[in-house]
């Protein structure tokens, strides 16, 4: 696999970031799959999805957040506090979930103690929790405010032409990732789940214009390859954010292959295209509110269950691993419902709670996964 993609998938900084900065162009970090990246791209900037990878502790994060908070935003703040995000020219804070939305003030306040860690452009964006005509209209206004703020700060103009180009570029990424998903669903997938996730993650840390050709090349290269995964137990991974490869490695080290997912750095980020004919902020608002799988959208459980069932059928899944980061009640309790409903359909499920990041509790998770795979194997 191309080294640039591997580095982008596994490191905070990567050559694509360096090259972009060397050209004097801006990078905007954000924390949620509800942020329409197309607007950032249309403004001539590079949307970068923030992660807490590479953290060794959360000592800075713990200073500002309270103790009963998901470790993901704490790890992101840790990276910011340690200067790892010094390449950012801006950051978008989003009303994603309770823990993540509080990154806004914790980061700003940490900036009082660690000068220079808050990017010069720091913007808070509201995202509705429901899909109605007035919620979409409200979100459109929020996107207009966001675009205007970018224009004021960076001088570019989010024109209709630039937006149409950005939509086309990001849809191309989505189409390529959907192609990757179809490859993973094959009887003998040409890639492991870890390899597939490497390709997916890289796209969140590179400009799409650089990423798309590299991804297309990789897909062509592996197409038709015997990945050696035929006959393995086929797993779908669901639940809280997974943005490092350790979870995939742990599952696959036990003899399974992850053939599908619904996590927000995975398929949740690329499912559903934006309308390409005369795209507008309204088209973006529709896509970003309608095509999201996150339980922050309250009252849409049945819709999410239907998506999950379809992915299970499409990828001929043998078992579902439903994981949540501790204190992520949204995924944690929805996992309880999924477990009830999927098990009733005869689909084995494993519910597991974990910490964010490279698995601090890898041994425990490995043991749970191992027992789960044994259960599936015995039933076969």
């Amino acid at each position: 696999m191309n080294d640039i993609l591997v580095t982008a998938a596994t490191r905070v900084g990567n050559p694509a970031v360096d090259e972009w900065k060397a050209e004097g162009k801006g990078i905007i970090g954000h924390v949620c799959s509800h942020v329409p990246e197309e607007i950032i791209t249309a403004a001539g900037l590079f949307p970068y999805r923030l992660r807490g990878i590479e953290t060794q502790s959360t000592s800075i994060g713990d200073t500002y957040f309270g103790p009963f908070i998901c470790s993901c935003p704490k790890a992101i703040l840790e990276n910011a506090g340690r200067g790892k995000y010094s390449f950012l020219d801006g950051a978008i804070m989003v009303q994603a979930c309770d823990s993540m939305r509080r990154l806004d003030e914790c980061w700003r306040k940490a900036g009082e103690d660690y000068p220079g860690i808050v990017p010069p452009f720091f913007h808070y964006m509201g995202v509705p929790h429901k899909v109605t005509d007035y919620a979409i209209d409200w979100f459109v206004e929020e996107l207009e405010k966001f675009a205007a703020a970018l224009e004021a700060q960076f001088g570019g103009k989010v024109t209709s032409e630039a937006l149409a180009e950005a939509v086309s570029l990001h849809n191309e990424t989505r189409r390529l990732l959907i192609r990757l998903e179809e490859m993973r669903a094959m009887d003998n997938p040409p890639l492991s789940g870890e390899e597939a996730m490497t390709l997916i993650l890289a796209g969140t840390a590179m400009p799409k214009s650089v990423y798309n050709p590299l991804l297309a090349e990789e897909l062509d290269a592996v197409s038709g390859r015997d990945g050696g995964h035929g006959g393995k137990i086929r797993i779908l991974l669901a639940g809280s954010v997974v943005d490092d490869l350790a979870m995939f490695r742990t599952i696959e080290a036990e003899g399974a292959v992850v053939v599908a997912d619904t996590v927000c750095f995975g398929s949740r980020d690329y499912d559903g295209l934006v309308e390409e004919e005369n795209p507008s902020f309204k088209s973006l608002a529709r896509r970003y509110l309608n095509e999201q799988f996150c339980p922050r959208m309250f009252g849409y459980y049945q819709k999410r269950l239907d998506v999950l069932k379809k992915k299970i059928a499409d990828a001929n899944v043998d078992g579902v691993i439903l994981q949540n980061i501790r204190f992520c009640d949204l995924h944690g309790s929805e996992n309880g419902l999924f477990e009830r409903d999927l098990e009733a359909m005869g689909i084995p499920c494993l519910r597991v709670e974990r910490e964010y990041g490279p698995l601090g509790d890898e041994g425990r998770v490995r043991m749970r996964v191992s027992a789960f795979l044994e259960r599936i194997a015995q039933a076969a």
Partner: protein, 464 residues
């Protein structure tokens, strides 16, 4: 779960306790004393409540009546709606729907059951709900999940965008039981025109949902009656909270608990109005005679609870404050942001009965200013939000200190409480952050919590 706990329905048990207690008030002193041994786990509440005289009596009667309505709703042909404490019940009463206010139901169980609602909390986990979720919902929710209560017909919430953990409890229940669900959603800002428009459109959608569920149109006459009652309640609450500014405060400290209980359950009903009127009368009498609201008569310090209170059996927080002579200046649970409230500034609402549209609009405005819904929807230091409110209340009410009491399940406030405490301290307000769980003594026993408060008061030389 112990078999004993599932012998009677949870809601019925609460109803029996409160209504029996209220009924004994009509008897002789001897009858009352003979009743006490029969309600051993409730005794610690009845006595301090009774000591407040008429307001306490009306509180018990009001709670008894509310619980009677919950228990008998289906028998009386009414729909039951599971909802949250920060959702004004007035609209439900106006539409002949009985609201089940989940958090006050948890508090009621915590006060009267030995061991609180811990076994119901654990039962939620058995049904797939996370143990890290907010205990204020998990307590009573467990009883509803295991079928030990009249089953709700629908779920309505207003916490998406405010508190995910809260909203999640209700959406989990609706999905688990497969019953209709409606959410009012709130943008991060409170007073912007577009936020107001959003509130109002969303509120009209809620009415359409309730009409669909009940098969009945909203009756403007009936709505006007409920709003008129709300208006009276608002005036009484504002007057009581105005009196709290007096030093020493003539308002008995347990009143904020009474307001919490009946405003959330019986808002817009006469029972709550009567209780509030009796409370105001007592407080005004104290004020006229230069008395503090304490039984001891002496106010030694004034404490602002910047979030919620602490509920354990026998109301130990209030007993402790009473003993120490510390005035409870209220928390976010008893601030409603009526335009004439002393703390409302330009963020307050005024109720209108000019037309059906005006009534709906002002109800939507009132709803969007309820506890939590008002303070924690946006960044904590943004306009109208938590920091601005805490600083303004501390100044207005001459607070000597501030306390954060909450639950570990509160992701939202735990994400910013350290920052809030730091800012309050910078403003010269000694601030204590408690790690205890307001609804679950297993997280930290009351005696430990009490010790932490005492230590704080001693170190900061308050009420010494």
């Amino acid at each position: 779960m112990r078999a004993a706990l599932s012998e009677y329905n949870y809601d019925w048990t609460l109803y029996a306790m409160f209504s029996t207690a209220a009924n004994t008030l009509n008897g002789s002193r001897k009858e009352y004393e003979r009743m006490l041994p029969r309600v051993s786990t409730f005794r610690g509440i009845i006595e301090p409540v009774m000591a407040t005289g008429e307001p306490g009596k009306l509180f018990l009667q009001g709670m008894g009546e509310y619980l009677r309505r919950v228990v008998n709703a289906h028998q009386e042909g009414k729909k039951l709606c599971l909802t949250t404490f920060c959702q004004a019940p007035a609209l439900f009463w106006a539409m002949d729907i009985v609201p089940i206010l989940l958090e006050p139901m948890t508090v009621a169980g915590t006060l009267v059951h030995k061991g609180g609602t811990s076994e119901f909390m654990d039962y939620c986990v058995e049904k797939g709900f996370t143990e890290t979720s907010c205990s204020s919902q998990r307590g009573a929710l467990g009883a509803y999940l295991c079928g030990l209560a009249e089953p709700p017909d629908m779920v309505v919430i207003d916490t998406p965008g405010i508190c995910d953990t809260n909203a999640n409890s209700f959406s989990f229940f609706a999905a688990h039981e497969n019953i209709p669900f409606y959410q009012l959603n709130y943008p991060p800002e409170l007073t912007a025109d577009r936020s107001r428009e959003y509130h109002r459109k969303d509120y009209r959608n809620l009415i359409a949902f309730l009409e669909e569920q009940t098969g009945k149109k909203l009756d403007p006459q009936r709505l006007a009656g409920v709003i008129a009652e709300m208006e009276k309640q608002d005036r009484l609450i504002c007057d009581i909270q105005d009196l709290q500014r007096v030093v020493p405060s003539p308002v008995p400290i347990i009143y904020n608990f009474f307001i919490y209980a009946l405003r959330f359950t019986m808002g817009g009903r006469k029972e709550a109005t009567d209780m509030l009127a009796a409370m105001l009368e007592c407080a005004m009498d104290n004020a006229a005679n230069g008395r503090s609201g304490f039984l001891s008569g002496e106010e030694r310090a004034r404490g602002l609870f910047v979030y919620i209170d602490h509920y354990s059996m026998n109301l130990p927080l209030w007993m402790f404050l009473e003993e120490k002579g510390i005035t409870h200046l209220g928390g976010i649970l008893d601030r409603f942001y009526q335009a004439r409230a002393p703390y409302a500034g330009d963020a307050g609402y005024s109720l209108s009965m000019d037309s059906l549209d005006a009534m709906i609009d002002t109800l939507a405005d009132a709803n969007s200013r309820l506890p939590m819904v008002k303070q924690i929807r946006g960044p904590y230091d943004a306009r109208d939000m938590w920091l601005e409110e805490a600083l303004s209340l501390a100044k207005l009410y001459n607070a000597d200190f501030a306390v954060y009491s909450g639950t570990p399940g509160c992701r939202n406030t735990w994400g910013m409480v350290k920052l809030l405490a730091r800012d309050l301290e910078k403003a010269g307000i000694p601030t204590l952050v408690l790690n205890s769980d307001a609804f679950d003594d297993r997280v930290e026993s009351w005696s430990n919590t009490k010790h932490r408060i005492e230590e704080f008061l001693e170190v900061r030389r308050i009420a010494g």
